[in-house]
Every structure is written in C-alpha cells, then in structure tokens.
Symmetry: C2
Subunit: 307 residues, 2 copies
C-alpha cells in the first residue's frame, strides 16, 4: 500500500455495512487500492451512534493505511451499502447524517453486493450471512426477497442456524428428541452443557451471537447427525426457494455470498448450484462502483443545469 | 368483598407473576378472599425494578380492595410463583429482595400453576400462554419441560404462534408461499399491509407483543386457511410432545392452562385430550397453598429448635 498523502484528485471510499461489522476500501480515481478498514456494526437498527462510529473508525483505519489523516475525510466520495436502510425511516435517518465526506451515496448492503458480484452488470445474488436475503437486478427491474430480520424472517441465515442449534439442543435436554451431536459441539463451544447455562448464554442473544454458532450445525451434519442434517436441509430449502424466485427474472449471472454461503451451497438443489457464478468483486467494491455511478449522474445533472 | 381492616391473625397473599402481567389474591387464614390485584410483568428477566413494582402495585390494589393500607403489607405471608426464577441467578436476585412482607416464599410460576390445578395433589400441567412449558409433580418427583424462552424455545406458545404469523405473512409477501388469509387478518389488526410497515411493527417485538397476534392464526385455521392450519398443527404437535413426556410419570391428573390453552386443545391428539382434567384453582391460589405449606414447614422447624 503506497503512501498517498500527496494523492491529488477525487478519492473513493466504499462501505459495506452489515449487522455485525463494516468493511471499507479507499481507492483512487483510477481504482488503485490505497487502504482498507474494518469497524463494528453499521446497521442503523442498532442506533445511529454505533453505526456512524463504526463507519468513521473503519474509514480512519483506511486513511491511516493510505498515509492520510482525518482531515482527508472531506475529500472522499463515498458509496455506502448499509443493512437496514431498505426501511424508509432508517434511509431517512442516514440521509440526514452530518457526515464529514465530500459526498455520501447511500443504498442497501444487498444492492452493493449485487453490483460487486456482477461488476455493475445485470445479475442476482443471495447473501447467506448473519441474515439471509436475495436480490435480482435485471433490465432495470429489482426483485428483493427476504432480509426482513430475525426471528420472524432470515430463515437459512447464520442467525437462524444458530437459533435452531440452541432449539434442538434444548429439545434434546428435555428428551423430546434423541440425543444429538449438536449438544456436544455446543457444550464444547460455550464451555458448559447445563440447560440453565445454555439458556443464560443465549437469553439476550443478538442475531450476530446466534450466527457465531451456525457452523456447528454443518459440522454435525457432515458427521451424519440426523438432527443437524434435518436443520441444514430446512435452511437450504429456504435459500433454494429464494434462488428459484430470483431466477424468474432470468438473471444472466447468479452469485452466493456471505459467510455461510460456502456451507449452504452443497445442500442446494443441483439446478440451483449449477447456476452459481463466482462473485467478481466484494460488496465494498460494489459500493465504490455505486459511488462513481451516482457521482457521475450528479455531475451530469449539474452540467445540465449549468448549460 | 368485606372491609377487613380490623382483620386479625395471619393474612396470605398469592402472587402469579408472569412475563406479561402479575395477579395477586389476598385471603384470610381460613381462606376467605379479601381482595385481588393486577400488575405488570413480574419476571425478573425484565429487571428487578419492573418486577417488584408490578408486585407492589398489584398488592396495593388487593389491600385497598380489602379496606387495608400499605402498612398492612408487613402482615402478609406471601407465596410467589414467578416466571424466570427457575434460573438460579434470578432466584438469588429475588431471594435477596428487601420485601415489605412478613414472609416471602418464592418458587416458579409453573410450580404454583401445578399446585393450583391439582389443589396441592400430584398431577401435571402444561401452560400455553405467552410461553410454553410443562411440569409433572408425582410422588415427590418433579419433571420440568420447556419454558426455556423465546425464540430458541417456547414452541407452541403465544409468542411462537405470533412470530410464525409474521413469518408466514412475509413469506407470502415475497411470493415464496401462496397468498394466505393470515395477511388479511394481520393487516386488519395492525392497520397496514405494507411489508416494511409489518417489519417496523415487529422489529423489536417482545414475546408479549407476538403473543397478542397468536389468536389470528387459529381464526385463519378455523376458516380453512392451509398455511394457518399447518402452523397450528406444528404448534399443537409440540404441546403434544410435552404432554406425552409428562405422562411418563403417570400423573393422576393433567390440566392445560394459559391464555392459549383453549385454542390449542382441539388440535391435540385424542389420547392427550382425553387425559385433560379441569384445573381446580388458578395459579395465584396455588401460590397461597405454597405459602401456607412453606410457612408450616418453617414454623415446625422453629418449634423443633425451641424444643
């Protein structure tokens, strides 16, 4: 990473703000990577202060990596894809943020993921991470599925798998289902197997906390545990449903992204698996693409007004 | 209700403290009802201040109804069955409460429900209210099932049914399942049918909020809605499982209690339905029974020490 404190011209910052963490990348006008940063959750549902602190912390890291300072924030043209801003009240809240940047172009995390995966071209994505959702962007038509939140939505997500893990372990503790390897894996992970300790541990659990334990369900399924396998199949069936719905728009490309994607993919229908194409870029680079596109629209609008 | 401000001798207060509300009854030594009261949630998981305020408010009401004053609190021998105190840390917190009563005998809400339903005799109960749980108390053996909390537990409870309602409506909005009457009933109940409004409405919903909408699932099922019927059958199957587990202890009596019980019962297996016997008394009277029993044990222990 070059020291670019002398860098002239516009700089672009791409933000991928999820419910658990936020990633930023800083690039030059000709797309040279200057720095990266990582912050906490940037979902406004957790409060604007938490979200904006996460974004500023990650941005500061990227600037430092680039040999720049806090004052350079005012030079940044930002594209931000944030979880939660698909809800009008949160979009409004974030639009009114007195940000320190030159420009702040806001959209959803799902949108920048789709842009990144297909380099701005038509396509569809499913994110299977802490939450689950899908988007198809084909011929100007957007189809948005799921991502409504936990626990009434987000089936097949990390939060859902983690919650199911706890659910199945407690059923087994109550001897309502047969013993399962999930109990041993959870006991190992949290250091206790007592029912009341498990309940204490998850009593106020956020989706992020549940999602941390999701991989254990796949571990148990891979070892042939019947209970785990049933949960995996249920979760995968839900992701499969989202995919089939997105395919109705006939997207030319389709990517599966998010921390749980590589775990879930092997359990999807063959017909869905065959459609998967690799994501071309990470969501934060989708955010950069979005910033450039929105800035260009803005500039051409200004030009139109001036002319 | 007689004016009993001149009442002499011990007075007993029974408290049924749930996650949504707390009910108290005030009786004389010979079990004459003097007054009743109703307060907010008395579950220590919501905070000790809320819980103790709820108890004191309801107690004050009962004292007022009995023509007594706040000062008479110090005369009350209290039996309290509270949700959440099955967890050691909350039992400890409540045991350390500097209460204003003559005595405070603490146990779980499930325990007093079982005592009340069978008038202190052996038996089993299932509570299907905001949460779901079961207890069998047979020949000195206690078997405790479920009640671990929401969303990882409490299947077949009001919270679970309400959450499933929102889940199914959102699946239908995303066209992942067929249209369902549940959407119309929910729209009518919350005054909007827009997806984002539904999500906003339930985003931070507590189990109590979800439980409020549970009856809609039964309404739709009764009108033949296939989605609702499937949810009802799933919830009932879970309650059924709890019942069969409790029956292993061969309880001589079995009661179904809680706000959702009468809705769920018709969907239980015939073999379970046939075992149901009416509850002999409400949980708050079970709490009175418990207070008397514990006080008698305490008094006989004191007598033993004196002798």
């Amino acid at each position: 990473m070059s020291n670019s404190s002398g860098q002239q011209g516009p700089l672009y910052l791409g933000i991928d703000g999820g419910g658990s963490k936020c990633r930023v990348v800083l690039v030059t006008a000709d797309n040279q990577l200057l720095g990266e940063g990582l912050g906490g959750p940037a979902n406004p549902l957790r409060g604007m202060k938490v979200a904006t602190d996460s974004i500023l912390t990650a941005t500061q890291q990227a600037l430092t990596a680039a040999g720049m300072t806090f004052n350079d924030m005012s030079r940044l043209i930002v594209g931000a894809g944030l979880a939660g801003v698909n809800m009008p009240q949160y979009f409004k809240l974030f639009s009114e943020w007195q940000h320190p940047f030159a420009a702040f172009h806001l959209t959803s995390d799902l949108h920048i993921a789709c842009i990144g995966a297909h380099d701005g071209a038509d396509g569809a994505v499913i994110i299977a991470g802490t939450g689950s959702c899908g988007l198809a962007d084909v011929k100007g038509k957007l189809l948005d599925i799921g991502g409504h939140g936990f626990p009434y939505g987000d089936n097949g997500s990390g939060a859902w798998f983690g919650m199911q893990l706890v659910h199945q372990v407690l059923l087994s503790k109550d001897q309502l289902i047969a013993p399962t390897l999930l109990s041993d894996l959870l006991a190992e992970a949290i250091g206790t197997s007592a029912t009341l300790d498990i309940v204490s541990h998850f009593m106020h659990a956020t989706p992020t906390v549940y999602a941390r334990y999701a991989p254990l369900v796949f571990t148990a399924a891979e070892q042939g545990d019947a209970t785990a396998l049933k949960v995996v199949q249920q979760g995968a069936a839900f992701i499969n449903q989202i995919a089939l719905k997105l395919f109705e728009l006939k997207p030319p490309r389709f990517s599966m992204i998010g921390g749980l994607a590589y775990k879930v993919v092997p359990y999807l229908d063959a017909a869905v698996q065959q459609q998967i194409t690799p994501a071309l870029a990470a969501p934060e680079f989708g955010a950069i693409w979005y910033a450039r596109q929105q800035q260009a629209l803005l500039n051409s609008a200004k030009t139109a007004i001036v002319n």
